[in-house]
Amino acid sequence: MIRIQFSITLLAALLFISCATNSYAAVPPPRDLPKAEIIRLGERMYRNGTLPSGKVMEAYIRDDVEVDSSFFSCSSCHLRAGLGSFEGGVVTPPTTGTKLYKPYQRPPSMGDTVDQAGRFIYAKTVIERPAYTRETLAIAMRTGIDPAGQVFNDVMPRYLLSDSDMSILISYLETLSAEPSPGASSSEFRFATIISDDVSQEDRQALLMPLQRFIAQKNQQMGMYKDFIKFGYAPTAEMKYAFRNAHLDVWELKGAPETWQNQLAAYYNNKPVFAVLGGISNRDWRPVHDFCEAQRLPCLFPITDFPVVSETGWYTYYFNKGYGQEGEAVAHYLNRMDKLPAETQILQIIQDSPAGKALAAGFETGWKELERRPVKSVTLTASQLLDQMSLGKLLAKHKPGVLLLWTDAGLLQRLPKLIPKLGGPGMVFVSSSYLGEKTATIAETVRDKVYITYPYRLTPYVGPKTGGFDAKVPILASAKDFGDRRIASRSTTMLQQATLQGLNLIYDNLYRDHLIDVMSMQMDVVALDYERISFGPGQRYVSKGCYIIQLGPGTAPPLLPRSGWVIH
């Protein structure tokens, strides 16, 4: 990197002299590139920090801190929709052409006033500025000085961009979030939820009840708001963004998953929606996931044990990684067992079912990332699993010290006969999600040998501290929770804590990418079902934990944690 030291103060002075005597250097749009190519190249610069040449964008912070875009890019702070962010006390302003070419006044921030706690003020950002032009925008990105001569916060890098690269980036910003997304208007949001035909009537109602109540509440609030206006009260500018009608479509998926994408497209083309609120299927969620990625359609917290586990998926928020997260937790737990001899044989017995395979895949992924040698795996059908003779032979052959039993509850009653066939230390791991309510029936004689994955809260939940109607009575996890899929409670969490918060925060910026962005910047939430759900740019599995537990004595056994919530 070329070593150039800036003095922002001096640059500001020079720019004002330049301003007074000359016009700014022109930054015309690129003339030799088609518009689609400008957008492609500009988006690559904005999101990945890659110049049209393929090189990284170089910049300086605080005069001499060299940074390049392999560390972070424009979208890291201004986010994908370009509407900015608020993090660490710093307000990052919008960077879309629509916003840049108008005068701007940012929302108030704690950094605007003397910090009551005595913290050093580092977060000061420009409060108000006139409209940019392409030319003043180029100067701002290079020097950190806005059209009024105000200096940016130090966290904004000053970029070393050539005229042609700058022209492409500015042209891209002019297209960024230029058109509102379908499914939303100043007066209405249209949502959908997705239900596949393998879902029971009971589960379907558990999903729809909180969703329909949410929609009714939104519309009731709108009625109250209209009365408010009718009786002569003047609403504040922000109030109209908090009150919109809402409509919920139910997209029913029938038949083979291979046909789901066409069914979804038909629903969507008929009436586009702004976002998918929840949804439920007992099958792999991938067809829906892929459809939402292709349509750039937010899909918020579906109830699924088979989410798509991806580091690049953008538009679907999941509660967790489903069965995969439980398998992974076992890999991490075993890896942290200091007393487990390195030569201990680990055997996976995998029921030939989507759940069994997903648990095994989660374990194998986690185990591989820990750079451990692959374990022995045997896949058996439900009927093969009940063949006592062959199962006994299998265990005698491998003599595993650790048995990962990724099966349903069919084998549970036989555990007392199977466990003595294991080598030392004779541990068995099972999934509470797969076993369901039968988990509590594990024989007392072997409970000290059986370890259970449990991806839900164990510590008392006492409700939000803000008050309201939520119970303040501590809620404790117990054996009766094993069979509970928590459909209504999790959908309520989705609506109250995550989605509603996001919808309120987008104000009049009706862009789906912006909804995804603001949801990613939320503070952590202590939720009914999970110890903690946490957000962050790019984080799409909000509950990261899964306990390993054992059962205490009795028919309603206490749940005894053998690990922390998150096992690294």
Binding site: Q5, D63, V65
Partner: protein, 183 residues
């Protein structure tokens, strides 16, 4: 670019003329005797890591942070590179404030992205242990989104810490480090 180039030549002599933009204090901290996990998945006893005979620089960050952490980590990169050219290998420690998400894998990828060299570790742990560390450094925040830019340099001679609050230039951080190192 022309304006930048012209200004840079004139600016060289006044690059550090600005008033100090960060707050500097000297503090004493009682570090809890806890075990954290580094980017290689290895358990590390924090006290042992910090009780070094050379200065140790500590910062609280998280892997998916958008605003402050990239600047703090860019500061680490620059400090590490500068000191290496002087033949010094600084001890740099980033401690996560997002322990649920920042697994060894996330931390390893983060250090790779910043082209960190040996001597820079990234630590995670249980939520309760991370809270203890933040509290010990008088840097506790209940949520990662509320964090602020802090670098802390341990003086190996007397165990005190230079606490640096704010966005620092490379030269400022280098000078603070060398001051603690007695160079």
């Amino acid at each position: 670019m022309l304006i930048v180039s012209a200004a840079s030549a004139l600016a060289a002599s006044t690059a550090h003329a600005d008033a100090r933009k960060y707050k500097r204090t000297v503090e004493k901290y009682n570090i809890p005797d806890i075990t954290l996990i580094n980017q290689d998945g290895k358990k590390v006893r924090l006290v042992s890591l910090l009780n070094s005979n050379q200065p140790v620089v500590v910062a609280f960050i998280y892997g998916t942070c958008t605003t402050i952490c990239p600047v703090l980590s860019a500061g680490f990169v620059n400090l590490q590179n500068k000191l290496l050219t002087f033949g010094q290998q600084p001890r740099l420690i980033s401690i996560t404030i997002d322990p649920e998400n920042d697994s060894p894998k996330v931390m390893k990828n983060y250090l790779k992205r910043y082209r960190a060299k040996p001597g820079w570790d990234f630590l995670t742990g249980s939520r309760s242990d991370i809270d203890k560390v933040m509290k010990a450094f008088n840097a506790y925040i209940p949520d990662k989104m509320s964090h602020y830019p802090l670098n802390m340099i341990r003086n190996p001679k007397n165990g005190t810490w230079v606490r640096l609050f704010g966005i620092m230039s490379s030269m400022e951080l280098l000078e603070e480090y060398q001051s603690v190192a007695g160079k």
